[in-house]
Amino acid sequence: MSAERRPLSPHLQIYKPQLTSVLSISHRVTGVGLAAGTLLLTWWLLAAASGPEAFATAQGFLGSWFGYLILFGFSYALMYHLCNGVRHLFWDAGRGFELPTVYKSGWAVVIGSAALTVIAWAIALASA
């Protein structure tokens, strides 16, 4: 096809958001967010290896309201990316491409990631 006649991609400003497109861009957004959030994991592990004082500082930050906010966002993003990632892996194996299935698995991701996040926080709040 000549370069001039190629179809244009959807114009995001006038394109109606759909479950499929929103989940797709969310996978990318959560992936980049999680990559930034790995700083927390490294900090937490280094703090534990450094000694009680450094670890208390890290735990104090994570246990503050701001720390909770970040941890909540991180855990929800992680559970979302995990569920949708499994959906991606099925697609990579060539399965689940029929349109009704794409919507069903999409809703399963929405519900599954919310449920996993609630379960994780129920465990955390019961143990804290």
Binding site: R28, L41, L82, W121, I123, A124, S127, A128
Partner: protein, 132 residues
């Protein structure tokens, strides 16, 4: 590939220079999927474990991180996570950054950061595992 006419005066070599070898893309794709597959059980295990230990003090953290099974799983988790994250962020940069110079600098920075953070995390785990 129906249209094979050359639109530019550049030689075939000049057109592909800097794009890497033909099979690199497949390796990248596989590594991204394999690390994703490994991360499913590792991530679920990690989230449930740290949730169950929420608010732990230093002694509890040291005992948990340093126990043999946990430290091995943590090293696996850290390796898979930073590998997967680096591959993923690379694709995002390649999609959105169009200046070749900025792209190269960004890709190098992300690779260096991923290796640095991964090694620092693994060092911390091993230090506790070997009772540093």
């Amino acid at each position: 590939m129906a249209d094979k006419t050359f639109r530019s005066m550049r030689t075939p070599l000049a057109r592909v220079r800097g794009l890497g070898s033909a099979k690199e893309g497949v390796h990248h794709w596989w590594a991204q999927r394999l690390t994703a597959l490994a991360l499913v059980p590792l991530t679920l295990w990690f989230v449930v474990s740290v949730a169950g230990l929420a608010g732990m003090d230093h002694a509890a953290a040291v005992a948990w991180i340093g126990s043999p099974a946990v430290s091995v799983l943590l090293v696996l988790l850290v390796t898979a996570t930073f590998w997967h994250a680096q591959l993923g962020v690379q694709v995002v940069i390649e999609d959105y950054v169009h200046s070749e110079a900025v792209k190269l600098v960004a890709l190098i920075a992300v690779k260096f950061a991923a290796v640095l953070l991964a090694i620092a995390s693994i060092f911390a785990v091993l230090r506790l595992a070997f009772g540093g």
